[in-house]
């Protein structure tokens, strides 16, 4: 972790007004991210994805986002005019979504999409953008970049699609990457390879990363630090290497309920949810 954090979040709250009252998706979350890999873990509905989206002001209406502080390298992301925010979104903070099928434009070639991502954020010309796009495809270990450059998204596999997404998000050379379940649609071996690419890019460029996932074991082995979220709150923060020694009963319960390869337990322990966790 570095001295000055890249991102500071204090008392983040996200609520959605509905017919039956206001639903609070995120209820007072605080954390900082430096040049490190921060994991956010939780089950569906824990608010982990919304937290990631709120950083880029991508919470869909009618969601209401408030925070005591939400700043990226000293700039207040909550009050920044939309025009200035566009200078940050995609360029200095970029986001990889879960499913490449829905994130890539189906009627544009892969190369054109990556080159566009570069040109929007720099003054480069077409030839320069193409050269950079090919370099980037190579950096995410796509074997034949020239061929893939001209393909359409439906012509590539899920694993390759996800690597293309990562290439597109990394081409403006961001300081912070928010990855929302970037590998959960992938096979385990491809997942490992994609993570290795992101890991390498993090360490070689000194990029910070927020890795949102539901997979405890994966986050524990990949990230530096972990936030565990439950019902819109952070219930526990720990170093990734110390996850196995987690103290909160929710974290413990989640870890116990995971089936293991060396399992000989006749029955998996079932998580008994304690209403007091909602307040913790």
């Amino acid at each position: 972790m570095s001295e000055t954090p890249l991102l500071e979040v204090e008392n983040l709250r996200i609520s959605f007004p509905t017919r039956t009252g206001v639903t609070q998706a995120v209820r007072g979350v605080s954390f900082t991210v430096g040049r490190e890999k921060l994991g956010i873990v939780g089950e569906s509905g824990s608010g982990k994805s919304m937290t990631g989206r709120a950083i880029l002001r991508l919470v869909p209406p009618p969601g209401i986002v408030t925070a005591d502080r939400l700043s990226f390298q000293g700039e207040d992301l909550l009050t920044l005019p939309e025009k200035r925010l566009r200078g940050i979104r995609g360029r200095r903070i970029s986001m990889v979504m879960q499913d490449p099928k829905f994130s890539l434009n189906p009627v544009m070639t892969i190369g054109a999409q990556i080159a566009e991502a570069y040109r929007v954020h720099s003054s480069a010309g077409t030839a320069e953008a193409k050269r950079r796009a090919l370099e980037m495809l190579e950096a995410v270990r796509i074997r034949n970049p020239e061929r893939v450059y001209g393909l359409y998204p439906h012509e590539v596999s899920g694993g390759m699609g996800q690597r293309i997404m990562i290439a597109m998000m990394l081409i403006p050379n961001p300081d912070l990457l928010i990855a929302d379940e970037p590998t959960s649609a992938l096979d385990v071996t491809v997942q490992m390879q994609v993570l290795a690419i992101m890991d390498e890019l993090c360490s070689s460029r000194g990029m910070g990363m927020i890795f949102v996932s539901h997979d405890l074991n994966l986050v524990a082995s990949f990230c530096d630090r972990i936030l565990i979220m439950y019902a819109g709150r952070v219930v526990e923060t720990c170093r990734a290497s110390e996850l196995h020694a987690a103290k909160h009963p929710y974290t413990r319960g989640l870890l116990d309920s995971l089936p293991r390869l060396d399992d000989t337990r006749a029955e998996l322990p079932v998580l008994a949810r304690d209403p007091s966790w909602l307040e913790g």
Binding site: E43, S44, V188, N217, S257, T264
Partner: protein
């Protein structure tokens, strides 16, 4: 209980033909729980769909409960063999109540005492009678998967084919469903074939497993060997390695298996 010999399944015609399953053979004994593992495109779900009669274009032989199966299944077949699908959001009719969903197989097979059967099967899967007249959208993912299991069990089959039954669920809910499936197998003396990409799930649920890659069975092993990590084939070893969390060095050493 299930005997599959030299099963081949192809999709498409002419130049676009894809051989999804290329000569798969395995046997599942009565009361056994058998796992089929592999990555996407390995053909594991296709094998299951061929066994239950959802894929028609296959060659080889499939025998279930001692009866050789043709491409078309008799109605009676489904009384002994039922399937549970991966996605509980997609596999239940959104405009039918749970009662109607569970009553349909009973009506198709002309069984009596539908009322008592539905009541019993709902209790069996841990949902009380209060769920009977609800719609699927009023249930959580775990509850829907329980309904899908109830629908499979309402005909009192002997074989249950499970296609990734928990991969759409959160881990805490996954534990509940896996426990339920284990209990049901013990109580009803069921035979399971479980398809999963998750080796740990197979390790807790199954007695034996087959690892598939590109339409072929790479290796068959019992679950003790899996727990010890005693795989004979490189492909299985790589799969085992990849499911034990992120490891930079291991990721670099991965290769493609043709």
């Amino acid at each position: 209980m299930i005997d599959v010999r030299d099963l081949r399944v192809t999709f498409g015609h002419g130049a676009d033909v894809v051989a999804a399953v290329q000569g798969v053979s395995f046997t599942v004994r009565e009361g056994e729980s058998f796992g089929l593992v592999g990555e996407s495109g390995s053909g594991k779900s296709t094998v299951l769909r061929a066994v239950v009669g959802l894929n028609h274009d296959w060659t080889g032989s499939i025998a279930v409960a001692g009866a050789a199966q043709s491409r078309r299944r008799e109605k009676g077949f489904f009384k002994s063999c039922q399937m549970v699908f991966q996605d509980p959001y997609g596999s239940l009719h959104p405009r039918h109540t749970i009662d109607r969903i569970l009553a349909e197989p009973i009506a198709i097979h002309g069984l009596r005492d539908a009322d008592a059967r539905i009541d019993r099967v709902l209790r069996d899967v841990g949902l009380g009678p209060q769920f009977r007249f609800r719609y699927p959208h009023q249930l959580s993912g775990g509850q829907r998967q329980r309904v899908a299991i109830a629908r499979a069990l309402v005909l009192e089959p002997r074989v249950l084919l499970l296609d990734e039954p928990t991969s759409a669920l959160d881990v805490s809910v996954q534990a509940e469903i896996l426990n339920l499936l284990k209990r049901l197998r013990a109580e009803h003396a069921l035979t399971y074939v479980l398809v999963s990409h998750n080796l740990a799930v197979v390790a807790t649920m199954c007695d034996r497993l087959a690892v598939m890659n590109r339409g072929r069975i790479v290796e068959e092993m019992d679950v003790d060997a899996l727990r010890r990590g005693a795989a004979r084939e490189d492909y299985t070893r790589q799969l085992l390695r990849a499911s034990q969390g992120y490891d930079r060095a291991a990721a670099d050493s991965f290769k493609d298996f043709a």
